[in-house]
Symmetry: C3
Subunit: 326 residues, 3 copies
């Protein structure tokens, strides 16, 4: 997907990119232009990608990227069509290159170009409360409601028949048809991604979006952060209860049900028809299969295969857990 | 209690009700009108109620309802004065009948009839901040404060000497005297109740209220959902810390103290003088007795008798837990 | 530190103070004036302090306070320069004396003297959104941003280059340079401190502040309560993710990283370079050392020494936990 919201300042000559990560191209003699930085899956030829953990070994095999920021120890996993750019810290190098392509994605200040909705053309097509604000690059479909004090900041597309509650803030998001987002939510802010540094941490550019597929509902007080390199996705007809936190790059499938106060850490993937009980927490970079049930209060720290029911901290087979904890 | 907020469109002839749940009355020959749908406890003669789980066996014995939506396997538990209407899925049938009586309780959009408080008569009796909105069917007592940007939507009664913070939203709620509701709360939205359906879940009508009894305090960022059939109740002089989630139909007693980030799932009852530590979670449909202490971080998955102290996940006797976890 | 925000109504004669706690000075013959009430560490000569738990035995040895509210059983731990005022309930007596010095710190209503920022001098120096409100006794440095609908209530100092998101509320706080506070936060409200009482709990005066040191970031939906007697402090370059709750008197060191939905109970101290995973909870009155790592979902119920890695509930050595929970 072409990034619909953040402006790509590329292409850049490979030399310019290598300079950023302190690599001298004289010895390597790489050539050509790089048009974009993308993740392993969505990158195609003339893109640069990154590979920083064995966890993504299966994905890297099939990447179509021409270049990959990685480490000496991982570079042998790359396909022959992808040239390694080996650095010490993959994520810091990736952040620098991302910022080169998308300088606007580092700063995440509020959109100070918003206008009251009754001073925009949306006043004709949207049913809205008091004090609703609309930023630049916003589209809203037919038959939508937006509650009092809500702020649709820049880079938002809302489909038909959507309901946005009061006091909610949305930016950098694609909201499909028939979606409800209730009160006091913050959707699409940058994720909690940065590189620790002794005096002042280095913030990571977040060029991903939040995508909420059709027929879904997001409860009150949710925070759903946009992705860093890929997107954060809530599937079709998936319902989230109140006070849920979804971190950057998380992908949740269709027809899932997530109870109150659940937290899902960054880059975890959740399948279809998944049920998660209240206050459960799921660590980052995990894969939760289809038809999985996670009991309330569980702490999930490893992948869960399809059709499993788990409970406990760390979460295990629910029957085993209950037998051990009579 | 007569429902003070949602308009009852009944009574309806029993035939009309049976049609809704695909039952042909010719064989059964039920007669008469049904005036309301209520839960097992509050239903009286000429009401219809529902009974879907053995858990409520004790309650069903004493119901005064004339009709009860239930299943074949449960219908023998009904008293003779109550005629069973046996269906496959009790809750879906109940939702359909409820919607017939209370069609306005399904939709839960923001109240787009709110007005700025300084354009209402409340400006004379309330001390208020900037941008306060008041909906229809609102009553406010003497000596109340309402902070900036707060929205008192339709169907709210607030007693004397109440304090509502800033950025809070209240609807479908009875707030008694001397209650404080702090900033960023959402009180009285519909609960997380629906019937999963492959393409688009069916939302459940919520005709209950939130009732907050006198002298209580609700911390910042709370979400307290209104009941589906019965009410959600916070007892007298009960204090809730910040970021607490109370689901639909929960009933909390008097003089209880609930620390930050606690979550209580739907239809659970909590006694008087209960103390719940931070981040504890309590599953749905449980009964927690009087004078119970639940340690912070606990996960409660079964009933707890009066005067118990519990800890752990699943929560057990606190001494036992601490002995096992030295 | 002289309290910059709450007005000290002292000094008071010792007799006036003793009267408050039902002690007759005729027998004791204490003399002189008391200028302030402070905690054990910050009190100096002519101050009154309080000492209610053996936990603070080391601190009490070095207090410079002239008087100390304590119990008969603890009074022998006081240094000779500090005269005991022994009562039955130290905290209730302390609350009464604190209220005498700082009567404005008991009530915590919204600041109804706020003005729209464009009617203040701040409009020249701050970049701001719509509907921003500013209370009395507010200072804001250079190059700051304040988002839509945010409320800077009374008693706030904000340094240079700060970013305040939308829909946030700040009061009684010192925000140093280069701090970001994202959307929907509530910073500086009174803590969850009160004395249970059968009909109506007695609220505790909170004369402390929230101090957020330079270069820190506070995620969306945070609640950070101000201190009761001492301050609540977030150290330099410390980052908090979304939906975090920090209770009164908590002190967090520098360069720490705290993931989403963490809760830290009152009066706990956290060191430098600490990492806390998502949804972890930390009980009150604990000391967590430097360089500690607490795994997501953990429940910490005792002190943790420097350089430890812990996991579980109750949290223990992470290797031990993982070995036992394969």
């Amino acid at each position: 997907m072409i990034n619909p919201f953040f402006n790509n300042h590329g292409p850049f000559q490979i030399d310019k990119i290598l300079e950023l990560v302190d690599i001298n191209n004289k010895d390597l003699n790489y050539k050509g232009h790089i048009k974009d930085i993308r993740d392993l899956v969505t990158a195609d030829a003339n893109c640069i990608t990154f590979f920083h953990s064995k966890k993504y070994k299966e994905l890297v095999k099939h990447t179509k990227a021409s270049f990959c920021i990685t480490t000496k120890s991982l570079e042998n996993d790359l396909p022959k069509t992808c040239m390694p750019i080996s650095v010490e810290n993959v994520l810091i190098a990736t952040a620098k290159v991302t910022e080169k392509f998308y300088p606007e994605a580092v700063i995440d200040n509020f959109d100070n170009n918003t206008q009251y909705i009754d001073k925009t053309n949306f006043k004709e097509i949207v049913s809205y409360g008091k004090n609703v604000l609309i930023g630049s690059n916003v589209k809203i479909g037919k038959n939508c409601n937006i509650g009092n004090n809500s702020i649709i900041e820049k880079n938002v597309q809302i489909g038909d028949n959507c309901y946005i509650g009061s006091n909610s803030i949305i930016r950098n998001s694609l909201i499909k048809n028939n979606v409800s987002i209730l009160d006091n939510c913050v959707i699409g802010k940058k994720g909690f991604g940065f590189f620790p540094d002794k005096f002042s941490n280095i913030k990571y550019p977040h060029i991903g979006l939040v995508i909420i597929e059709e027929n879904s509902e997001i409860g009150c007080g949710a925070t759903i952060d946009r992705g860093s390199m890929s997107n954060t996705v809530i599937g079709k007809n998936t319902y989230l209860d109140n006070q849920i936190h979804i971190a950057h790059n998380v992908k949740i499938g269709n027809n899932s049900i997530i109870a109150g106060q659940v937290g899902i850490a960054g880059s975890t993937t959740i399948g279809n028809n998944v049920k998660i009980g209240g206050q459960a927490g799921i660590s980052g970079h995990l894969k939760i299969g289809n038809n999985v049930e996670i009991a309330g209060g569980s702490g999930v720290i490893k992948n869960i295969p399809d059709n499993s029911k788990v409970m406990g901290y760390p979460a295990k087979n629910i029957r085993e857990f209950l037998r051990e904890n009579k």
